[in-house]
């Protein structure tokens, strides 16, 4: 005797969120049944393996049928096929779009193309996440990217509007989209120590301060036509060249150093080393800024930050507090330079660089 057909349908679609997670994790029905058994599902309601298998299969089928709708979450609310209570819809969507940060870290900055998708089995091996789950997450990234890419307006809001995600998750997706769009280099060995959260934070900073949308829409009404949040503001990047004066003008550089040293003396243990290295550090940051007009250099932003600034500091055993102090005074001191006219640009640049460095400065 074999079960030919086994179906369970409710007027209100009933979903077991534990089983949903197993499904999202890409388990097969039999694996999921095993997991549930291990978790003691059989102890409830005098269930037997048959009942459990049937239930798991039903649930998996339900999720599979709903998956199509989850691809465009706004449809989930207006579709008539499944009556799902609104609060459950929210959970379904949120969980579907949640991703493993380990996985996201792997894909970050890569082109969301078929080629990348083919390599997912490697990623799957490396991260221990099932291939099916990897594919789902990858497809999610790609889907969000495709939809948002062409849209005007703030990136996070667009993601939220089209995918009905929570604020946190939408921000993470914004980071992924941002990285994928600008193709930032994240895969180098030296960058391996950075987590997805580190990059997501940096992306948030870049989006908030360096894009067109960042400076407030009213000032640039025409540029609403552009991808406000996805691309860095060209004009701003061009203006960054002006900062070169801080290293090219020897007087200014010396004065800058004096001001910083005066402020930091006695406050940091690495004062000596700082004094020696000041010019190198300053040059590193300024050069970085001036190069950003080239797409290639924009992509290398993070590796440059690590190689040119973070590694030297780490070598000299700076603490985070010391770096904080240094960057604060380094930024502020420039305001006291009588001849330095690019205060606005400077602040905009340094604000982001400072918070990125602080986020990235760890083991």
């Amino acid at each position: 005797m074999s079960m030919e057909l086994d179906v369970f349908v409710g007027n209100t679609t009933i979903m077991d969120m534990e089983v949903y997670q197993l499904w999202l994790d890409g388990l097969t029905v039999s694996d999921a049944v095993k997991v549930r058994m291990d978790e003691g599902a059989l102890l409830e309601c005098e269930a037997n393996p048959e009942v459990l298998t049937s239930d798991t299969m039903d649930q998996f089928r339900t999720f599979q049928m709903c998956e199509r709708l989850l691809h465009s979450p706004t449809k989930l609310g207006s579709q008539l096929l499944y009556q799902i209570p609104a609060q459950n819809q929210i959970i379904l969507i949120e969980r579907y779009y949640e991703f493993d940060s380990v996985f996201a870290r792997e894909v970050l900055g890569k082109k969301l193309s078929k080629g990348t998708k083919k390599d997912l089995d490697d990623t799957s091996c490396k991260t221990g996440i099932t291939l099916k789950s990897c594919r789902r997450q990858f497809d999610n990234f790609k889907r969000v990217f495709k939809v948002v890419e062409e849209l005007k307006g703030p990136l996070v809001e667009n993601i939220q509007r089209h995918f009905l995600l929570s604020d946190t998750l939408a921000r993470d997706y914004a980071a992924i989209v941002f990285f994928a769009n600008s193709r930032f280099e994240t895969g180098k060995r030296k960058l391996q120590y950075l987590s997805f959260q580190d990059f997501a934070f940096c992306a948030g900073q870049l989006i908030s301060y360096w894009t067109i949308g960042a400076m407030g829409a009213p000032t640039v009404p025409d540029s609403m036509m552009e991808d406000m949040d996805v691309d860095l503001e060209k004009e701003f990047l061009n203006e960054l060249k002006d900062l070169k004066v801080l290293v090219n003008d020897k007087d200014m550089m010396d004065q800058h150093k004096i001001l910083v040293c005066a402020a930091l003396r006695g406050k940091i243990k690495v004062y000596k080393l700082m004094e020696v290295n000041f010019k190198n550090l300053s040059r590193a940051l300024i050069n970085l800024a001036s190069k950003l007009t080239h797409t290639k250099d924009v992509r290398d932003l993070f590796i440059d930050l690590v190689e040119k600034f973070i590694e030297p500091c780490r070598y000299d055993r700076w603490t985070v507090a010391e770096i904080t102090l240094f960057l604060t005074h380094y930024t502020n001191a420039a305001h006291c330079l009588g001849t330095f006219r690019h205060q606005m640009i400077w602040d905009r640049y340094m604000g982001v660089i400072k918070s990125c460095i602080l986020q990235m400065y760890h083991e």
Binding site: E4, T12, T28, C45, L81, Q83, A86, Q87
Partner: protein, 1042 residues
């Protein structure tokens, strides 16, 4: 030209991509009614077209309005080739024809294609302007209201009950016409859907005419069924109860349907209602019918009436009734048969027991669709028999009546069952029941088979009537309606444990719901008897004969099982009994479900005594005593479980003398062999009525096995197949409805009856277990209206399959101190009774091979979504957190969940329930009947299989799963378009699944029905759906105060 139908096509959304090149669709719409078709403009290149069409106006006869559906076809315009159909929407405009129902159909309706399923949605507006037609000879019956609900619909009051109405229309099945060989599956499916829609429209119209003729204005308990007779055609038949209903004004508090204070046609002497209780307009009763085996003689008709409810002797020859007894003026439609299962207080006077009839027929091609006489005659015959059985029980009416068929190839089993009862004639139409006066004399001569209807007179009468007036409503209905000295079947009578004045039987079986006024001890529970019998494969008459020979044994065994299980649970009455017998090529399946209760007014059931016939050796005795002990333990445990603790004091009182001869025949049922032992046991009177089970033969062993192997219900669950769970009163308002379908394939093994029985029992048990498991997060809860349907669908040569629908609404309720959910199941199928003693044991023919599959479908209604709200945070701890945080009441919880909803969810939530009400809510308006028929077919089963391989699951399940989901979606959409927010009395009457893996093909037919309603919550205001406020201002205003 009494009607103008107006339709406007507003917009479409989520349309499928029809043009691969552009990934878009050039959609337009055809609107068709009768022979008139209108078209919208093409809305190019969009998946969300905005047609915003003009009003298309159809000027039509109201006859057509009733018969025809409005047909909306969405197409993709193609310049070079034929336009491709995207899908269709059929709109039944019947609800718009009654002024009290809906006024407009407006909303998003799914566009359905029989091959692709739902493909987007279309927004339409439909209205009807109806002109009055006073023509006496009109063919239409606009305005007659139809209700699937088998009780008086809430918010109405019944002025008069006119009685039974039935109608039947037949046609050729398009699937079997020659043209089907050359047309596409889609065309064939659509032809079928359309035909059935037309036929049910026509059926409804004709029934409406009958109702108008009788002077009524509504049909309650409307039950429409399809018989897919294959080659021989398609039959659509319906039965119902004609009534005159008065709408209660929304202001009055109308939770309970009430009878009007003075029924206009009430009988002269209300103080002595019994006197007027006549021997109800007896039908032309030919006593020869039940016993005559037409099967042997006639070539096409095999009529077999095993026996009836508790009226075994009914099939024994009863004296012929004299001709004057007939009242020629009464038509069949006026027989006091009622499809209602739930009655207003005072309506039901006495209940006699279950009556049922089955008849095996051979189908032949319907030659002339306009003359459906053969089928009519078949049913008429059956109703006659039911009637006569009721008479044998001393009753003048049959309530809780239903009819069903089971078809396999050319053999068809027609079944009907109901509960014999005495009704309060106050609400009957005069012609129907009040003719009694003239018959009394005639029918007074007592004859054994037909007793008691005139008991109201004669020597017993005075006392009887005296009692009658005094008898409290809580026990009156269990008092025997028949004459205790001329009982229609052997039963043990005692004085009523409640009023001590009237006689009551020891056990009561009924097909109706537990009357609200009945006094129950403890809680009720679902009781099921399952049986599987093999039969030889045969053709034609031989086949029919072998089936009709098997039927009595099956009924007998089912009855025995029910009886045993009832005793095992220490209960003494069954409500909502449904017995379904399905025929397959090489087996018969029997499934009986009912809700067992302990009626306080009936005597306590005795235990079960096991007796070995040949007490030969010690080990055997030991075996018996172990079994006995297990049984006793189980009974004790069940008493605890169901909280059955009848007051002990009754015992002494009961000692009241019972005539000796009653005692001698006290055993309601006993196998012939065991009767000897019986006398040895000390069975003074009903009290210790030990029920003797023989375990000498394998059948008895099987009985006991099945008794003891029934898995107990997990803690926190309750189940019943009636609307209300007996013994549980506080229901919360959340509820869910589920359907589950299962098909099993039997391996080609030689299966014996026992083997099959075991398998079948396991199937049912497993299905129940699955339900419990799935709903575990909802406990405590109750499965109400738990409904199983079994079938053995025909298939190729090799397989016989069965399928079971299981429908279960789940309701939650709160007990005195703990909060609980209630869950119940209903049987939707056909029922019969089982009770009598066949003279011989069924022989078990062995089969060479058999493989069968079994399918179950389940609808469950769950009350509350609390599980989900709580689940959100911590997944693992749901169940425990739920249990340990008993919220004080449902209200606070639902408030919380409402708040978490994002505002403005665009889709109206539509509840569906097989119950006639939604707990904790008030139905403020009935919008009309929903009766929909869908066919779905796939020709890419293999592809579906492949797609699903990952889950190692068949594509068939996926196919059916999405189809059922689609059907639900369409039903919900239509309810919402009528302005409703719930479908009550929902039932899935048909779910036929056919698979042909060789052709890579599967097909499924589903028929669903119910009443679309608007409800409002009694407790919290905010749950009122937005549409209500606009549409129902008056009633919401009134309800606002509750």
């Amino acid at each position: 030209m009494p009607g103008k139908l107006k339709a406007k096509i507003v917009a479409g959304r989520h349309l499928p991509v029809m043009d691969r090149a552009s990934d878009l669709t050039d959609a337009f719409v055809e609107v068709k009614f009768g022979n008139t078709t209108f078209k919208t403009d093409v809305f190019p290149k969009s998946l969300n077209p905005q047609w915003n069409s003009e009003w298309f106006k159809f000027e039509v006869d109201d006859e057509d309005l009733q018969d025809e559906p409005l047909q909306i076809t969405v197409l993709d315009h193609d310049t070079y080739s034929a336009n491709d159909a995207i899908g269709k929407v059929y709109i039944d405009i019947d609800p718009l024809l009654s002024c009290e129902a809906a006024t407009v159909i407006s909303g998003w309706l799914p566009i359905y294609d029989t091959i692709h399923g739902i493909r987007g949605e279309i927004n339409v507006l439909v209205k009807v302007d109806l002109f009055n037609d006073l023509n006496r000879f009109r063919q239409s019956s606009c305005g007659v209201k139809f209700f699937c609900t088998t009780s008086i619909p809430r918010c109405y009051r019944v002025a008069l009950v006119h009685g039974f109405v039935e109608e039947l229309v037949v046609n050729e099945d398009p699937e079997y016409q020659w043209i089907d060989r050359i047309r596409t599956p889609r065309a064939s499916n659509e032809a079928r859907q359309r035909l059935i829609s037309l036929m049910s429209g026509e059926l409804q119209r004709k029934i409406g005419l009958k109702v108008l003729e009788m002077g009524g204005n509504a049909v309650v308990g409307y039950l429409q069924c399809f018989d897919l007779e294959g080659e021989s055609g398609l039959v659509v038949r319906a039965i119902g109860t004609a009534c005159t209903l008065d709408k209660l004004s929304p202001g009055t508090d109308s939770k309970e349907p009430v009878f009007s204070e003075d029924p206009p046609h009430s009988l002269s002497g209300p103080p002595t209602p019994l006197r007027t209780l006549p021997s109800s307009s007896p039908p032309p009763f030919s006593p020869s019918k039940p016993c005559s085996r037409q099967s042997s003689s006639s070539d096409t008709d095999l009529s077999l009436t095993p026996r009836i409810g508790k009226t075994s002797p009914a099939s024994s020859p009863s004296p012929p009734l004299s001709a004057p007894f007939l009242i020629p003026t009464l038509k069949l439609t006026e027989f006091p048969i009622f499809t209602l299962t739930c009655f207003p207080p005072g309506f039901l006077v006495h209940v006699g027991g279950v009556v049922s009839t089955r008849s095996v027929k051979l189908l032949d091609r319907i030659h002339n669709p306009d003359e459906p006489e053969t089928r009519d005659a078949w049913w008429e015959e059956i109703r006659q028999e039911i009637k006569s059985h009721a008479k044998a029980l001393g009753c003048h009416a049959v309530v809780g009546y239903s009819e069903s068929t089971s078809i396999c190839e050319e053999v068809c089993i027609l079944s009907a069952s109901g509960t014999a009862a005495m009704l309060n004639p106050r609400f009957m139409r005069e012609g129907c029941l009040d003719t009694g006066g003239s018959d009394h004399r005639l029918s007074r001569q007592p004859h054994p088979g037909m007793v008691g209807s005139e008991r109201g007179e004669g020597e017993v009468s005075s006392t009887w009537l005296g009692f009658e007036d005094a008898s409290p409503p809580s026990c009156g209905f269990v008092h025997i309606p028949y004459d205790e000295f001329n009982m229609p079947f052997p039963a043990q009578l005692t004085y009523c444990y409640h009023c001590r004045r009237q006689k009551v039987p020891d056990v009561l079986f009924t097909t109706i719901d537990l009357p609200a006024e009945a006094e129950v001890t403890g809680k009720g529970c679902l009781i099921q008897a399952r049986l599987c019998r093999t039969k030889k494969k045969a053709q034609g008459e031989v086949n029919a004969t072998s089936i009709s020979n098997l039927l009595p044994f099956m009924e007998y065994e089912l009855h025995t099982q029910l009886m045993n299980k009832l005793k095992l649970r220490s209960m003494n009455a069954l409500f909502g009994l449904r017995i379904q017998i399905s025929v397959g090529e090489n087996m018969l399946l029997g499934l009986a479900s009912a809700t067992g209760v302990y009626l306080s007014a009936l005597p306590a059931p005795g235990g079960i005594q096991i007796a070995g016939k040949t007490p030969s050796d010690l080990s055997y005795d030991q075996h018996i005593s172990t079994m006995q002990k297990r049984i006793d333990d189980t009974i004790a445990k069940n008493k605890e479980l169901y909280n059955i603790h009848p007051p002990e004091c009754i015992e002494e009182v009961v000692g009241s003398p019972i005539p000796d001869r009653q005692r001698s025949s006290r055993l309601f049922r006993s196998t012939s062999e065991s009767s000897d032992e019986l006398s040895e046991l000390d069975l003074s009177h009903g009290k210790k009525d030990a029920f003797v089970l023989e375990i000498d033969d394998t059948d008895a062993v099987e009985d006991i096995q099945s008794l003891l192997t029934d898995a107990p219900i997990p803690a926190g669950f309750y189940s019943c197949n009636t609307e209300v769970m007996p013994g549980i009163h506080n229901w919360t308002s959340g509820l869910q409805m589920f359907t589950s379908v299962r098909v099993y394939r039997l391996s080609n093994a030689n299966l014996t009856n026992q083997g099959l029985n075991k398998i079948f029992t396991d199937l049912c048990e497993n299905l129940l277990k699955s339900l419990y498991f799935k709903l575990r997060s909802m406990i405590p809860c109750c499965l109400c209206h738990l409904n199983f349907t079994v079938a053995v669908p025909e298939e190729e040569l090799i397989q016989v399959r069965g399928h079971t629908y299981l429908s279960t609404p789940l309701l939650s309720w709160s007990g005195e101190n703990e909060e609980q959910l209630q869950f119940s199941m209903e049987m939707c199928g056909e029922s019969t009774i089982s009770n009598n003693q066949p003279t011989a044991k069924p022989s078990a023919p062995s089969v060479d091979y058999g493989s069968f599959a079994d399918r179950c479908s389940t609808w469950l209604e769950l009350l509350r979504l609390k599980a989900h709200t709580i689940r959100r945070g911590s997944v693992k701890t749901i169940s425990s957190s739920e249990r340990c945080s008993p919220l004080p009441e449902g209200r606070s919880r639902s408030l919380r969940s409402t708040r978490s909803l994002p505002c403005g969810a665009p889709v109206t939530v539509v509840k569906m329930t097989p119950l006639s009400f939604l707990p904790g809510t008030r139905i403020v308006k009935y919008l009309g009947i929903i009766n929909m028929f869908f066919i779905r077919e796939t020709t890419s089963l293999r592809e579906m299989n492949r797609k699903c391989l990952h889950f190692s699951e068949g594509g068939v399940s996926g196919f059916l799963h999405s189809f059922i989901a689609e059907v639900f979606a369409m039903v919900r959409a239509h309810v919402a378009a009528l302005g409703g927010n719930a479908l009550v009395s929902y039932s899935m009457k048909e779910c036929v699944f056919m698979e042909n893996p060789n052709k890579n093909q599967a097909q499924c037919l589903i028929n669903v029905s119910g009443d679309a309603v608007i409800f409002i919550r009694e407790s919290d205001q905010e749950a009122i759906p937005p549409l209500l406020t606009s549409r129902q201002t008056s009633s919401t205003g009134a309800d606002g105060t509750t």
